[in-house]
């Protein structure tokens, strides 16, 4: 339940604290370097060798971000 409150708090912080960034204002955000995991294949390779050597898994996020213009 704590996590749920954390999530709601995050939503508030994320959504109310900032203005909407319009699709035509995403020049910087459209840079591939602003994307999370712009190369998912290389991310998969890295996760594989780490998962074999460490006791944790998950919570690494998913590919996202980018232009979102159209």
């Amino acid at each position: 339940m704590k996590l749920f409150y954390f999530f709601i708090l995050f939503l508030f912080a994320a959504l109310s604290g900032c203005a909407v960034v319009q699709p035509w204002e995403r020049e910087r955000l459209s840079d591939p370097n602003m994307m999370f995991d712009e190369n998912p294949i290389q991310k998969g390779i890295k996760e594989h060798y780490i998962n074999i050597r460490e006791g944790s898994e998950g919570g690494n996020g998913s590919q996202g971000g980018g232009c979102g213009c159209g």
Binding site: N33, E57, G58
Partner: protein
């Protein structure tokens, strides 16, 4: 309004891994992404792991089983050297703004087989300022080590919740939560526990609980610090029913060195506690016993430097002037420290080097 599909391309990577535990792995990968129509894209991939490690088979024997009765599925006589093949096929489809993807994967080697199915959906809100991602992964493994007589199963069900949020024209953040439920055999099958009480008593197979619930929550934020550079900062907390807790911090600096040359520098630090049943030395037979270093307490450091170069007409060197090509390369260094020595190698510190070279070609 529709979402963009992944770009049509073939990506080939030659990856290698070398460490001071005498493990060498070469693993080429090939990945093909092709659009079927304006809303559908398919991806197929193939990976081969060629693993060679030190001759340690004697270390893997447990009392009461001779090599004559062990599983025989190939592999060299005195090593667990092996080849792993992995194939996967996935499809991504846009339904207006919503993107749905499904992926199936099969992996096989002489002592292990694995089937994975994943399904993901991503739903944008508020002019794509917010994207909600929901995912499921089901994984079904079979483990049949050469040095044992049995075959065991493991089933993993994983659920993922993600939220990507644009905070400003230069900042984007991502929140991620995952819940994983694992049932069955959770070891690699080769490890052995030596029971030592003043003098050596016997060697046995390790035993872990047959159930593990794993949770992780992470946040990552990407900041555009200039027209050319970005900094990513991330943190993840992990906890499970085996009492492992971990913290991961990550930083990445990405910059366009020239119009066509991009650089990524990343640093990752990780620290974990040990599983409640993990012990460095077992003095008597216990119901739960484990020697795997990844269940031990310790920390890791990971540094890597990667480059990508996009072919362009201005370049006079042949091949490098092909606009359809992107060249990829990276080097990495990984250090793991465990609070007690590894069960087989008797060392606290693992040092690994990773080199990867590859290219992408637009089709």
């Amino acid at each position: 309004m529709t979402q963009e599909l992944p770009e049509e391309e073939i990506q080939v990577n030659f990856n290698s891994y070398f460490d001071n535990f005498r493990l060498n792995v070469i693993y080429p990968t090939i990945n093909v992404t092709k659009s079927l129509d304006k809303n559908t894209s398919v991806t197929g991939s193939y990976l081969v792991d060629a693993i060679s490690s030190a001759s340690m088979k004697t270390k893997f024997q447990v009392d009461g089983i001779t090599s004559a009765t062990t599983n025989k599925y190939g592999g060299a006589d005195d090593t667990p050297d092996e080849l792993r093949h992995q194939v996967s096929l996935g499809v991504t489809r846009n339904f207006s703004d919503v993107t749905v993807s499904a992926n199936g994967m099969y992996s096989t080697e002489h002592d292990y087989s694995s089937r994975t199915f994943t399904a993901n959906i991503s739903i944008p809100f508020a002019k794509k300022n917010t994207v909600l991602q929901l995912g499921y992964a089901g994984n079904f493994d079979k483990i049949f080590p050469q040095t044992r007589t049995w075959t065991k199963d493991r089933t993993t069900n994983s659920f993922n919740f993600g939220l990507t949020q644009i905070l400003s024209k230069k900042i984007v953040t991502q929140l991620d939560f995952s819940l994983t439920n694992v049932d069955g055999y959770m070891l690699d099958g080769y490890q052995v526990v030596r029971i030592v009480n003043g003098f050596f008593l016997k060697t046995l197979e390790p035993v872990t609980p047959e159930k593990r619930i794993r949770k992780a929550a992470g946040i990552r934020t990407n900041f555009g610090i200039s027209r050319l550079s970005t900094i990513l900062l991330g943190y993840r907390y992990y906890w499970d029913t085996w009492d492992i807790r971990s913290h991961t911090a990550e930083a990445q600096f990405k910059t366009h060195l020239t119009e066509n040359l991009n650089m990524i520098f990343s640093y990752r630090q990780y620290i974990q506690t040990r599983a409640y049943f993990f012990k460095e030395i077992y003095t008597e037979v216990e119901p739960l016993m484990a020697v795997d270093s990844k269940l031990n307490s310790g920390y890791t450091n990971d540094v890597s430097l990667g480059f990508s170069y996009k072919g362009n007409k201005e370049n006079r060197i042949p091949v490098l002037n092909n606009e359809k090509l992107t060249f990829l390369g990276s080097i990495g260094f990984y250090h793991r420290h465990t609070d007690s020595p590894d069960w087989a190698m008797r060392m606290n510190d693992l040092y690994a080097y990773l080199i990867s070279l590859g290219f992408k070609i637009s089709i």
